[in-house]
């Protein structure tokens, strides 16, 4: 891949057995969680919109492996279940939000595109494509302002790169030398439109050049490559005189855009071809090559453990109550007694 080398020769340790297991476990959780979400969606338990992350797990898990939710910040688009889980939010609370339950991360009032977690610096999913990018700039600015040393990672799809907000944001982040990693999850499609049909320049990593933002292409199917690239970018932008970085992670969504998408705009062969680079297999191959092959028994135990976790999330969501009608009036203003709140039932 024509990646541009980072100016920093940051040393990233090779994985040991423990880490490989941890990465695999996390990716498997995302995968099985989303498969379950897709299943219950078709049963009508989840309503509205539901965009699955299946195929892109290496990105969320790689980001998490390189950063620290206690110190760093996450701003996301709407394909956000995977990042919430990777960043450590309990599957019960993510699933409950999909179900629209009171125990969900936004108390059931948001649904699929609104996975926030203040305890882990997750500033949420965002349903307006591109709208989240400037927010990351503001968070990064606040880091400098408060002399904190967090790095903000901002996720978006390749379709968002054609939106003005992306370019406005990169300019500001570069101008002010902010600790911001702009991470494009390029899965080649924005809904039914392939990147070649929407973008004059399809090498997303080059599209920060107008603002002199260094770009780098990363294999988004390889969790180790993701972990390394994000770690390098973080090391580059974190210091006070550091600069923002644009990472393009090439990936693929194995399912349709949303649960409602029959995905008629791409061929079965193309999808099958991409599935050969399933991020779970890519990691397994890495492990094998490094002589860390995971014994069959270990993998089976992992599967069982993850299946149990997902099942528990489903059951908890199923049994949780819907928000009370009273909840409509909560969180509009800071105080429910504020006269700006016009209550009318």
């Amino acid at each position: 891949m024509p990646a541009k080398a980072s100016p920093l020769a940051e040393k990233v340790p090779a994985p040991d057995r423990e880490e490989v297991l941890a990465l695999y476990r996390r990716m498997l959780l995302l995968r099985r969680f989303e498969e379950a979400a897709g299943r219950v969606y078709t049963e009508g338990r989840i309503g509205g919109f539901c965009h699955l992350y299946i195929g892109q797990e290496a990105i969320a898990v790689g980001v998490h492996a390189a950063l620290d939710p206690a110190r760093d910040f996450l701003v996301n688009g709407y394909r956000d279940h995977g990042h919430a889980l990777a960043w450590g939010t309990e599957p019960e609370r993510v699933m409950a939000e999909l179900y629209g339950r009171a125990s969900g991360v936004t108390k059931g009032k948001g649904g699929s595109m609104h996975m926030f977690d203040a305890a882990r610096h997750n500033y949420g999913g965002y349903g307006i494509v591109g709208g989240q990018v400037p927010l990351a700039v503001g968070l990064a600015f606040a880091q400098r302002y408060r002399q904190a040393d967090g790095v903000v990672v901002c996720l978006f799809g390749e379709a968002a790169v054609n939106n003005g907000s992306f370019h406005e944001s990169l300019n500001m982040a570069a101008l002010w030398k902010l600790p911001c990693i702009f991470l494009c999850e390029n899965n080649r499609y924005g809904m039914g439109t392939a990147i070649e049909r929407s973008s004059a320049v399809t090498e997303v990593w080059q599209r920060g050049s107008a603002s002199a933002v260094r770009g780098e292409l990363v294999d988004g199917m390889d969790v180790l490559a993701m972990r390394d690239a994000v770690a390098r970018a973080a090391a580059e932008c974190r210091p006070r005189d550091g600069r923002p970085v644009l990472l393009e992670a090439r990936t693929y969504r194995f399912r349709g855009h949303s649960m409602a998408d029959p995905a008629t705009y791409r061929t079965r062969e193309e999808v099958e071809q991409q599935k050969k680079r399933d991020p779970l297999n890519v990691l397994a191959e890495h492990a094998r090559a490094a002589g860390l092959e995971l014994p069959r028994g270990d993998l089976e135990a992992l599967e069982a453990e993850v299946a149990k976790r997902v099942q528990a999330a489903l059951e908890a969501a199923d049994q949780a109550p819907d928000p009370a009608p009273e909840a409509i009036w909560q969180d509009v203003y800071a105080s429910p007694a504020d006269p700006a709140l016009h209550r009318e039932i």
Binding site: G47, G48, F49, G100, R101, G108, K109, G110, G111, S112, M113, H114, G127, I128, V129, G130, G131, A159, A160, N162, N163, G164, S165, G190, M191, G192, T193, R197, S198, S199, T264, Y265, D322, P323, P325, A327, I328, W329, V332, L341, H342, R343, E344
Partner: protein, 324 residues
């Protein structure tokens, strides 16, 4: 006569106008090869080609701004904003350019176009796939705002909107996109903008509604009739221009008015209607003008059924107003 749903009627109107007038072009996210996320532009790409059914990047401000330039040079663009909730990134272009071009250029230029967009709740879309932003645009002089409730009106109004010399926001009720079916004539016909339709005559309470809410209001007035309250129901169809004479005529007859809309209450279009009614019908009023609306909160995912003004809530208001 063929029976169509609202999407098919919209599609039919677009096709009819594109066949008639080569300056009509359709543009938007996935409107071409894919046929639109709601299938409103299905088949147009095949019939008219990629030059006239234009797949755009995800860039609402750019889509509308580009349409302005096209319109200035005599094309008749019909940009689609995939959901009304995504119209806000294009707000600057619509409010500051589209609406003001004629005025700003001293009448030398104009940018007639029709911005189509599905609006409203009822599909569990939550915050960003449910909003009803019509009032923002009625509040912007220079624009027209049309909201059909059924297939027949959707086709006739869309044809009129495309032929109109001024820019039109055309909000389509996505909740009843497929559910509302009806006979739609083949070929071209126009329904003039600014004519309300009295869909039920009655003497006791005037009910005003548009778009998806007309269906809830219709159910409520039927139930009201069973309960002995005789309502007159108006489908406004066009909010700007507004058929204020039809409203005045009806309220002077009934002395009572209930206004229904999904958008939040405060500064919703109901507030304007209420003001107009009291200005024009003050001496005829027998009861306070009553609004049944979405609440003054963001649009919730789970509590959508509570949020939307459904028939029982409308019926309650009708009864209260009738008994006042």
């Amino acid at each position: 006569m063929p029976v169509l749903n609202v999407i098919q009627a919209v599609n039919d109107a677009l096709r009819t106008e594109m066949r008639r007038d080569p300056s009509v072009v359709v543009m938007g996210e996935d409107v071409g090869r894919f046929g639109g996320v709601f299938r409103a532009t299905q088949g147009l790409h095949d019939e008219f080609g990629a030059d006239r059914v234009i797949d755009t990047p995800l860039a609402e401000g750019g889509i509308v701004g580009t349409a302005v330039g096209m319109a200035l040079y005599g094309l008749r663009p019909v940009p689609e904003i995939q959901f009304a909730d995504f119209i806000f990134p294009a707000m600057d272009q619509i409010v500051n350019e589209v609406a003001k071009y004629r005025y700003r250029s001293g009448g030398q230029y104009a940018c007639p176009m029709v911005i189509r967009s599905p609006y409203g709740g009822g599909i569990r879309g939550g915050h960003y796939h449910s909003q009803s932003p019509e009032a923002h645009f009625v509040h912007t002089p220079g624009l027209k705002v049309v909201v059909p409730s059924n297939p027949y009106d959707a086709k006739g109004l869309l044809i009129s909107a495309i032929r109109d010399p001024d820019p039109v926001l055309f909000f389509e009720p996505k909740r009843v996109y497929r559910a509302a079916k009806g006979e739609v004539p083949e070929g071209e016909y126009e329904i003039p903008l600014g004519q309300a339709k009295v869909t039920r005559e009655g003497g006791q309470v005037t009910v005003l509604a548009w778009g998806a809410m007309w269906h809830e209001a219709d159910q409520a007035v039927r139930e009201a009739a069973e309960a002995g309250v005789d309502c007159e129901l108006l489908d406004l169809r066009s909010l700007q221009p507004l058929d204020v004479e039809a409203i005045e005529r009806s309220v002077k007859k009934t002395g009572r008015a209930v206004i229904v809309h999904e958008a939040p209450r405060t500064c919703g279009f109901g507030a304007e209607l209420s003001a107009l009614i009291q200005e024009r019908c003050f001496l005829s009023l027998e009861a306070p003008i009553t609004r049944v609306t979405g609440f003054d909160t963001p649009f919730p995912y789970t509590l959508e059924a509570e949020y939307l003004p459904r028939a029982p809530r409308i019926l309650r208001a009708i009864r209260e107003v009738a008994a006042f």
